[in-house]
Amino acid sequence: MSLFDHKVSELHELLHKKEITVTDLVDESYKRIGAVEDQVKAFLTLNEESARQKAKELDAKLGTDESKGLLFGMPIGIKDNIVTKNLRTTCGSKILENFDPIYDATVMNKLHSAETVTIGKLNMDEFAMGSSTENSGFQKTSNPWNLETVPGGSSGGSAASVAAGEVLFSLGSDTGGSIRQPAAFCGVVGLKPTYGRVSRFGLVAFASSLDQIGPITRTVEDNAYLLQAISGLDANDSTSANVEVPNFAEALTGDVKGLRIAVPKEYLGEGVSEETKQSVMNALKVLEGLGATWDEVSLPHSKYGVATYYLLASSEASSNLARFDGVRYGYRSPNAENLVDLYKKTRSEGFGEEVKRRIMLGTFALSSGYYDAYYIKAQQARTLIKKDFEDVFENYDVIIGPTTPTPAFKIGEKIDDPLTMYANDILTIPVNLAGVPGISVPAGFASNGLPLGLQIIGKHFDESTVYRVAHAFEQATDFHKQKPGL
């Protein structure tokens, strides 16, 4: 049995009683990485020397007041688009292959205060653009449940590392489903917080109005603790929200009596596999048994989510990625003769194909003559999608549906067909466009043995209710106890 079969609260107790040390936890992590990483390939950079040093320092504090924090000594993996001081941060891109940040992201500062131990940086689709982690500039990560299949994307490394037992938990980022979709594919718990709940300072920007950092964990309880640690207003991020951070753990009561659930008919429509629909219906039965009620509702503009997302996200990406020009940091082409040539060669040699495709789409959508027809139109569609959610939330506490239309697909299966790949995010994208929180929790297995995810969506800043429902469902089922036979 692995130490990581325990929840954070149990490990905290063991540390407190000095039955284990932080060094034991860090050993557990690197031992498992040594055993499975050549198959899973979740990590881009390991932080072993620093992590072991840190573990020693923390062990010296065991039993003192300084070790009272719940996350004290817990081993964590970090998606490689979150900057970490003096620890290589590549964003999965050749253009940042040797980038060594000189400051920490706000979430890292918060984790340092909580005394977690950073085990390493996790693989991802280049600049978080993708649904399979196949777009990484360095390696393809495998799904621990079946190495022939993708772990999902773009936080594929973050989800796979937790599912494979390499770290206790990890951070990912979610722009159109990049935490929830890989969490569903890998059978773990992944939350995208309300936009503004967590500071984006130090998260390499993809689409600034959608990106949000969030926790990936084994259990809902661990997820709540990790979100607690990274939430809050940040003077360095003008989009972080000045709202109170509640005690999320207080929501984990198991009680959902009288809770009103909305199930959008669009989320159980065409393209969603029978097994996926069945897992959602089973989940609704479980929640009904606990005293909740549910009705079918409509989010009529759902079908426009994917088109809206690709126009807006690509437009913002084309602007954000302009900073990669080979001048101040990152790769620089050795073949340039003048400055414009330097920009063009650096970017063309440094960026991968999917990133270039989105920069092209975004530049097109923002260019003179097309701006109103594409960019403004998409911003208006976003208003309608957001209003769909607001209308439903007038009468319901949460919205429930599948996280993805199908379980994980095979590596290579969709990579040459961008539109089919994009359609994979159809159930997660509207949540980002509306800015509301959403979680994916394990909800069963397809007949091929691959995990299925249940998505629970809440009102703005109501992560507590999302956690309440997710925890009640988790406690009533044992899907989260299953582990890949790796």
Binding site: V327, L339, L342, T383
Partner: protein, 96 residues
């Protein structure tokens, strides 16, 4: 009919400071055309009098006190620069 010509791809590539081989231009013309075609389903929506949303929350602009603060140390900032000399980033000649 193709919405996006090869010439248009080249023009957008120049704006985006990217360059492509003829083969890539052809491929991007097809793919972008398909994606834009897909995006045009938004034309089905009646958006007269619909306000565009650029930010999902009602937020006020944030200002900080107008006070000078120390910048990052120069050596640190230049640590990641691909080419630098005498404390400055070096680039190819801009003026002839």
């Amino acid at each position: 009919m193709s919405r996006i010509s090869k010439e248009e791809v080249k023009h957008v590539a120049h704006l985006a400071r990217l360059e492509f081989s003829e083969q890539e231009v052809e491929k991007f013309a097809h793919q972008l055309d398909a994606i834009i075609g897909f995006a045009e389903q938004l034309n089905e929506l009646d958006t007269d009098n619909v306000k565009p949303t650029s930010h999902v929350l009602d937020m006020k602009n944030v200002l900080r006190e107008d006070k000078s603060v120390k910048g990052l140390p120069r050596e640190e900032v230049l640590k990641n620069a691909p080419d630098h000399q005498d404390g400055q980033v070096r680039v190819p000649t801009i003026l002839e």
